[in-house]
Amino acid sequence: MKILVCISHVPDTTSKINFTDNDTQFDTNGVQFVINPNDEFGLTRAMWFKEKQGATVHVANVGDASAEPTLRKALAIGADEAIRVDAPATDGYFVAKQLTKVAQDGGYDLIIAGRESIDYNGGMVPGMMAAMLGANFVNTCINLEVDGSDATAVREIDGGKESVKTSLPLVIGGQKGLVEESDLRIPNMRGIMMARKKPLHVVAADAAEAHAATAAFEKPAPKGAVTMVDPENLDQLIELLHNEAKVI
């Protein structure tokens, strides 16, 4: 089985979000970039397929050279090869289009992407790839087993979960649950050394027009001060929630 894991290179979850250039660019100053958490669960599940079922695992990113340390980290965790499509990730459609080309060229059976990236939260790349590839698609996937060309998966739905039967080629929008938090791997020295020698292919972008452009960013308006209520005066809280906030 050939697996492609799509890796988004995103600001660490503790990052302060600021913008520059008249609020048109994300301010990377002092920001640490990481593998998108949803993708990391998928990558770790891919490692399981590699170790238990002999799968080959490639990782791909659409972005500039600044994403390479993130791809190297994925190689250090155990991916066999990395591909970087050399183009700015302008919008979800453009990224899906590029990754679809990578997937077609590489002939992958299983494509694991994250349910969403934590920067743009678009949640559209896996679904668009599936549609462009004509592959099966399971979103918000919290469990995945593959047996030959058959697959079973569990999808999170509002208020519960759903088990499905499907087949390869398959695209997954993955998240926590594919593996547990405690299964995530920190690359060790040996992995890091090996990653330096593994291929990281840089390919040119395929011609495609973005569907959307960010005209500007805005930060949320500063929040008003908190109203403190005495724990001995809970009637006041109820009164405030009822008459002031009007939520009960």
């Binding site: 519960g160 959307a212 960013f217």
Partner: protein
Amino acid sequence: MSVLVYTESEGGAFKKVALELTSYAKGVANAMGGEVTAVSINGGNAADLGNYGADQVMEINDATLETFNAKNYAAALAQAAKAAGAKTVVVSSSANSKYLAPLLAVELGAAYAPNVVALPESTSPMKVKSTVYTNKAFAINELKTDVTVIGLAKNAYGLHENSAAAAASAFGVELAGDNGVEVTSVDKATDKVTIADAEVVVSGGRGLKGPENWNLIEDLADTLGAATACSKPVSDMGWRPHSEHVGQTGKPVASNLYIAIGISGAIQHLAGINSSKVKVVINTDPEAPFFKAADYGIVGDAFDVVPRLTEKLKQFKANNA
């Protein structure tokens, strides 16, 4: 010119989000100078949608669509959008809508803007505001395609009554027999309100000390008709199921009221719950960062405060019933 809206239903009745979405579609249609066409798949009473602004209702009744399947649903909606000549299709942020929207966008050659929080800033070109960086910022997106798909963020617009004809007509669709993904079982609590649909969410953190104390959270939630949620470590330790984990790496919460008990308010937690309108925080530590993000705060011990609060709310509910 029309705005198509996918109105979700459950058990033959429209969900509340369908009414909110119809209200929103009416706002978009007013801005564009067009009409609202609702698409109902094995749905409820079309007149319900008229109260929120649906001019037409395309009713799709098809046995193939009895259970949700993203590919088939996206195909049905795409056929409806093409037949109606829709310029914009509006969908919700439910798990199912987020699943089908990218498929629909590809089918229509449309740009898809998810997590939109307000009516478009302009409709030609289409410019919409959405949350990005997990609610830590907003982006104004310009959509460049002729047809667009807009995903409205949860609880972002509210219900707005409008009176429209809601002229219903049956619409037939052609679907592929084999859709590639077959549901084998569904495990869903039907007696509990979900985090996605809840108006009130009661959430517990590590401050509750152990799963055996969750009756505090559940009693308060039951009193308020609320969904229960938790912080990430609580689900990681197995005190509560993963499905209750809220925050940047868990589920987003956009309820009217969010009550956080024994949760410190780490940046990753706040990112996921920020879209909730009113936040109440109960914590022993006056320095807990959550108080900075709260509307109402109580410095106190959950084990003392929460049972008393629940009792008082029960009385309040009884008096206001």
